[in-house]
Structure formats: C-alpha cells, structure tokens
C-alpha cells in the first residue's frame, strides 16, 4: 500500500507541470515529541504535569505512527509544524474529516494554507474521499499529508 502510494505520488510528481520542491530533510528524531520545538532547551525534559501524575505528550494514538518512521511527504513540502501537528493529532483529524468539520480539521486546513473561502470545499472533498486519505490503518502522517494534497490541489 505504502509503496503504491509512493509510486503514485512519484508519478504525479514527475508529470506535474508545477515545480515542487522536495521536502527539506527532517530532523533525525522523526516527528516525535519536542524533536522540532525547543529541542535543545534546558528544562525541556520530560516533565510531570504539576498537578497530575502523567508524563506529557508522548502518547501514540492508534493510527499515529508516533515517533518513528513517519517518513516525509514527498508530494507536498509540509512544514515541520504541519508534520508534527498531523502526527500528534491523527486520530482527531480522522474523526473530523469523517464528520466533515471540526477544530482539528480547521487547524489542518490552515496549516495546509487553504484559503478561507475554500475551506468548506476542502472539508467536503476530504470527507467524500475519506478512504483515499486514510488508506489503511497502517497509514502514516506523511501519507495523510500527501493524500490530502493530491485530493485538494
């Protein structure tokens, strides 16, 4: 599935008339917690929330790939922020796309730089093509971004 997706993307990429920059190399830590943001900061250690007993952040949801082998979108130059957001919010994003609306989807549209007047169409396209965005339960963040770009460009 993954290979097929990549092949498809690559094919489209080659035949595409628009010149697309390949994604910039992404931090070696993949898209795990804090690998992008303040990664060298002192104090950015695993912190127990003040009033709770749970370490923060690094939960892997089911269809999130978590911290490893997220891969890079090859079709779209996703910003580090976009990748991190999708990797962290995969499950909520999938639910919003299925429902056709929601805050996570709004944030995703903004990160994908969808103009405000096109967001309703963006949401509708993704909802109608849900199976093509989330191709399988093994889908990874990069594919979700790629598939979105393919469907909505």
């Amino acid at each position: 599935m993954r290979k097929l997706g990549v092949a498809l993307c690559a094919a489209v990429l080659m035949t595409s008339v628009s010149t697309l920059a390949l994604a910039a190399p992404y931090g070696t830590a993949g898209c795990g917690l804090g690998s992008v943001l303040f990664k060298d900061e002192p104090g950015g250690v695993q912190i127990f929330a003040a009033t709770t007993n749970a370490t923060f952040g690094n939960q892997t949801f089911g269809i999130t790939t978590g911290t490893l082998n997220c891969g890079d979108p090859i079709w779209v130059t996703g910003s580090a922020e976009t990748k991190q957001f999708v990797a962290h919010n995969m499950d909520a994003l999938a639910a919003d796309i299925a429902a056709g609306q929601g805050e996570t989807l709004d944030a995703f549209a903004e990160l994908m730089e969808v103009p405000v007047d096109q967001r309703a169409a963006f949401a509708e396209t993704l909802q109608k093509n849900f199976d093509q965005v989330f191709t399988s339960d093994q889908v990874v963040m990069a594919e979700v971004i790629d598939n979105t770009a393919l469907l909505t460009r």
């Binding site: 917690l33 804090g34 943001l37 303040f38 060298d40 900061e41 002192p42 104090g43 950015g44 250690v45 912190i47 127990f48 929330a49 003040a50 009033t51 709770t52 007993n53 749970a54 923060f56 952040g57 939960q59 949801f61 089911g62 269809i63 922020e81 991190q84 957001f85 962290h88 919010n89 499950d91 909520a92 999938a94 639910a95 796309i97 299925a98 429902a99 056709g100 609306q101 929601g102 805050e103 996570t104 709004d106 944030a107 903004e110 990160l111 949401a123 509708e124 909802q127 109608k128 849900f130 199976d131 989330f134 399988s136 339960d137 093994q138």
Partner: protein
C-alpha cells in the same frame, strides 16, 4: 555570527560596532534613577519584601549575576549592567539573549542606544519567539478530573495566541514540578515540602489539550486576557528567561498558578496579583482562586469552555435513545458492523451513533482498555462509514456548566447549635478548602468532595466544656457514577482526629484513618446512589492494643432536591477486630443555599457503639470565604 575584535576595558565595558559604553556611568545612572526600586525589576526578579530587605522566589543561582543577587536587588542590578556589556561572542548564552526581558527593560530605563550595545546572535531566542509569535494571552484552567486525586484543585497554564486563526496552533506556557516519582504518596510528600524543582516549559497547545482532554478527561476553561501584543511579548520574553531556571515547587503556594501570576505582572507591571497572596493569612494558592484574582484585576475578556472527551461522550450518549446508545456501544466494544444502521435509524441518528462510537473508541484506547491492534481495526471502519453520511448542520455543543470562578469560595466556616444525647451545644466548624458533597456544585466537579484541613469544635454550656470534635487533615470522597459507557470506581479517604463513644459511653478523641472503595449510580439526573466497602483504623491509648481495625459497608444517597437544596442520606456499619466492637451509624444531612456566600445546614444523626446509642441534631449557618 559576527566576529568582533574586542578590547576588554578594565571597567568591563565592551564595544559592539560603535562607541563603547561605560559601565561606571550606567551604574551611576541606575542609582540616580533608583531603578533598583522599580516595580518591573522586582517582578522580573521575583523579589518580595522580607523583613527589612528583599528576597527572590527564584532558587536557582544561575538566575543571578551578583553573589547576593537573591536578596539584594541593587547589587543584582549592577551586576546585570555588567553582564549586559559583556562581549557578544557568547551567542545565546549572552545576557541579552538569555535574559531578554531584563535587558530590554535596562536598555529602556537607561536610554541606551541599542545600536551601540554588544549585539550577540540570539539564534535560539529569536527562533523560539518567531515560533510562539505572541499576539494574545489566555489563562487556561483544566478543571479537576472527577475521580482523580492528583488533579484535585485543577491546574493553570497560559496559552499564547499567535497569528494563526486556529487556537490549536498556538503555544502553551506551563509551570510544573519536575518529578520522576511515580509513587503518589512520595509525590505528594515531596510536593508539599518543596522538594521538587519547578520549571517553565513552552510547548504546542494541542499537546496540552490532548493531555487534558483525552488522557485525563478534564474539562478545560479558557479565559481570554485583554493584554496587548507588546505586553504578551514581554510575558513570553520573561518565560524565556525562566526556561531551565529552577524554583522549589510547593504544591500549595509556590505552584503552577502562583508563578503564572508573575508572568502576568511581567506583562503589565502595574498589576498587583501576587502580593495579596503574601498579605493574606492563608498559605495556599488554589488555581481557581487565581482566576478570581485575574478576573478582579479586570483582565478577563471572554470565557470559553472545552469539554473533555469523556464529557463529550456523556453528552452525545444523552442525546440518543436506549437502543441507539446500545448500538453505538456495541460497535465500539463488541465490534458490531458500523455499516448496517440505515434500516433502523434516521440519518441524523446514524451520524450521532457513529460519532459516539468513534469517540468512545478513542476514549478506551487512551485508557488502554482496548489493544492498539483492535482499536485500529475498528476505528477506521467506523469513521469510513461515518464519512459516507455527510455533515451535520451544526456541531454538537456540550451545554456549558457554571464556570469555576463563579462557584462558592473554597474556605468555609459555620456556627450552629444543636443537641447530642439530650445535651445542648454550640458548634463552630471551619474548613480551609475546598468543596464538600453538600456544597453547591456550581463551578465544581459533581460528586467530588475534597476537604483539606477542617476542624469542628463544640461548647456544652451545662458542663461549661469546650471540646474538639474532629480535625481532618484530608477528607476526600469521590463519587463517579457508572453507566453503559463508563465504569469508574468510587473511593474515599479521610485522616485526622475523630471522636466517638468508647466503652464507658464517653465520647473520646482518637486518631482515625478511614478509607473505602465502591460504586455509584445515577438514579436519574438529581440522585446518586453509592455503595462502598470501608476500612477504618483507630489509634487510641484507651484501647488495650492501642489500635482497633474495622471493616464494613457504607450505603448512601445524594439528592439534589431543588437547585438550592441538597440532601445526603448515608449509613453504615463497622465491625472491629482488636478491641472487638461494632459501630453503626445513620445520618441525614441537608444543605440549603441562601446565596453564593453561604447557606443553612441541618444535620440529624444516630450512632451506636459498645452498646450505647447516641442521637444528635444540629442546625448551622455557613459562610464561604
């Protein structure tokens, strides 16, 4: 990185690109302008008056450039001037990069032309600032989890709004204790005595939201503050200064909420948010309390409610009828097919059923109640089926409960009169914090009692005797109702001094620890029934073995009779080994709210121990403070 050729002058001055600045003359100016007494300086350094001098709340020596910086604002200021003039080759470690709020204030107060200062390359600082992109600020209050002791009083953090439209894409500033202890008791002990270091961290807001909403099932309240972008920028700069700087973290006072008040003062120095806490008698800072302070300071513009995943599930389930609820549950739990709903349900019902199944699957997965493999196999098909059903006209809005800052104040005292065993008495009781099962629930989590330091004393006029009835250090009673979707365990724990009848029929004081666990069910929207198994440990010199250990059931019912009137009927039995005896009790308590400030309590109780029965009745007036 500019390579500068610097000649270090004895005065410690440095040249960036232009004429040199002389530290001596700057220090003279500092003295002439009395900058060491300036409010913002004290805020940024977290100084507060102590005795005849000052002391900073910051415990990390790295934060100070002068050896006596922690207690000497003037010396620290002079040393900061020196540090500001250091050669720029330290990059991000340079004073100007590391302590930007401090150095900006200095530059401004001394009318220094920033152009002639050393200009280190602040790569990290600028990158962080660009990422956070401070435009607005929101005070965020994740309420207590309705069955989690660790989140007792809630928490506060700040969300820094950016140029993004979506709030999820902004950043959060969080102050927390750094701990690797997983043992709750050790954690609590160290927390109480300031044995943890507290650190500020800045991270994407969605991470914090995921943590509260999905992992911990806590509703979140957001209070938009009317700070200007420039003020928010200074706040973020100050939080940058505090990065990696440790302060001893005390759960009760020097905690998340208190330190955030400093950030707000850094944003707007004329605010006076922290001092009142030093001035008042109590030594704890409760997060919801700081919201009241911030609101009273006129900072709050708008309040927003974000229900947790569990709250959303509860609400969505309440919109469906029994058969649809069961269907939704079966799809999530038993793996029933999400595709064959059309024959029995309307389009809107189908959407609601699948939305609920999907959320419930996520809930169970976050609690590790379902394996990842199985979750993945079910979650996507549910969403795929849902995606074929189109979009609801309106998103489901969970009705907004009363916000926490509108609830009763956490302290409570009461004066009452009554009779026990046909002897009259006057009663005084006092509670430091926080919320009792009988207190009005508005603004609090329903069924979650947390009383922290409470005492009760009685005066019996006919014997002219004043006696302590009880002194509880902690008294937690957590009732979480069970239903189709949730099956929490209710529990309680109470510890302190208690009084009850002993062998000779006299009421004696003893040390008691009482705990229990069980279940609770809603009998409709206004009634909660619970059943628990208790364990009770008593320590007293009057026992032959100094100790008595009991066990037995408790049955109770909590009723909301009208919006102002609550009743709690409960009874139970304890059977003690060591010093064998039994203790039976039945109590009916009622509380009627008169206003947000207080109400009336009527309590009738009966108990029997060592074959002696005693009944009592009492009426009291309560006031919250």
């Amino acid at each position: 990185m500019s390579v500068s050729l610097l000649v270090l002058l004895p005065s410690g001055s440095a040249a960036g690109t232009g004429p040199s600045i002389d530290a001596t003359s700057l220090k003279r100016m500092v003295q002439e302008r009395a900058l060491a007494e300036e409010r913002l300086w004290h805020v940024l350094m977290h100084y507060r008056a102590k005795g005849s001098g000052y002391e900073s709340l910051v415990d990390d020596p790295d934060y100070f450039f002068a050896p006596r910086g922690k207690i000497d604002p003037a010396a620290e200021l002079a040393a900061s001037v020196e540090a500001m003039l250091a050669p720029p080759d330290q990059g991000d470690e340079h004073f100007i990069c590391r302590y930007p709020a401090r150095s900006e204030w200095l530059v401004e107060s001394l009318d220094v032309d920033p152009q002639i200062l050393s200009r280190p390359d602040c790569v990290k600082r600028d990158e962080a600032l660009a990422k956070v992109d401070p435009q607005s600020a929101v005070l965020v209050f994740p309420a207590a989890h309705n069955n989690g002791p660790a989140s007792m009083f809630g928490h506060t953090l700040l969300r820094i709004g950016s140029s993004y439209q979506s709030e999820l894409l902004s950043h959060a500033i969080n102050y927390a204790a750094f701990s690797t202890d997983t043992n709750g008791l050790i954690y609590a002990f160290k927390g109480l005595f300031g044995l943890y270091d507290g650190y500020f961290t800045v991270l994407p807001y969605y991470e914090k939201l995921n943590e509260y909403s999905s992992l911990e099932h806590r509703d979140v309240w957001e209070y938009r503050l009317n700070l200007e972008p420039e003020e928010v920028r200074r706040l973020v700069l100050h939080s940058w200064e505090m990065q990696g700087i440790a302060s001893d973290y005390f759960f009760f006072d020097e905690n998340c909420s208190f330190l955030l008040l400093y950030l707000l003062e850094a944003a707007r120095p004329e605010l006076n948010l922290t001092q009142p806490y030093y001035d008042r008698f109590s030594f704890w800072v409760i997060p919801s309390d700081t919201i009241v302070s911030v609101k009273e300071a006129g900072l709050v513009e708008e309040v927003k409610y974000r229900p947790s995943l569990a709250t959303r599930i509860e609400h969505k389930a309440s919109l469906l009828d029994e058969s649809a609820r069961r269907k939704s549950h079966a799809i999530a739990v038993a793996g029933a097919s999400p595709r064959e709903l059309a024959e029995n349900y309307s389009l809107q019902e189908q959407r609601q059923i699948l939305d609920l199944s999907a959320e419930y699957l996520r809930y169970r997965f976050s609690r590790k109640e379902i394996e990842e493999d199985r979750y993945k196999k079910r979650y996507l098909p549910v969403l795929a089926a849902r995606s074929a059903l189109g979009t609801e006209d309106e998103m489901v809005e969970v009705p907004r409960p009363v916000p926490p800052e509108l609830g009763h104040a956490p302290g409570r005292w009461a004066l009452g009169a009554g009779a026990r065993d046909s002897r009259y008495f006057l009663e005084f009781n006092w509670r430091a914090a926080y919320h009792d099962l009988l207190d009005p629930d508005e603004g609090f989590t329903q069924g979650a009692q947390i009383n922290f330091i409470s005492l009760k004393a009685r005066y019996f006029p006919e014997r002219n005797n004043l006696r302590l009835e009880n002194l509880h250090l902690v008294d937690i009673f957590s009732l979480a109702p069970r239903d189709l979707f949730f099956s929490p365990i209710s529990w309680k724990v109470r510890g302190g001094l208690e009084r009850k009848p002993f062998t000779d029929g006299e009421d004696l004081l003893y040390v008691g620890i009482n705990t229990g666990g069980g279940m609770a069910w809603n009998l409709g929207p206004d009634a909660l029934l619970y059943l628990m198994a208790d364990a009770d440990l008593n320590l007293s010199d009057r026992f032959r073995d100094k100790v008595s250990l009991g066990a037995g059931p408790t049955l109770g019912c909590l009723l909301q009779l009208t919006s102002d009137w609550k009743a709690h009927l409960h009874g139970g039995a304890l059977f003690y080994g060591f010093e064998e005896h039994e203790h039976y009790r039945a109590v009916l308590e009622q509380n009627y709210r008169l206003s947000r400030e207080g109400g009336v309590t009527l309590k009738a109780g009966w108990e029997r121990a060592f074959d002696q029965s005693k009944a009592e009745i009492m009426l009291s007036l309560n006031r919250y403070f």
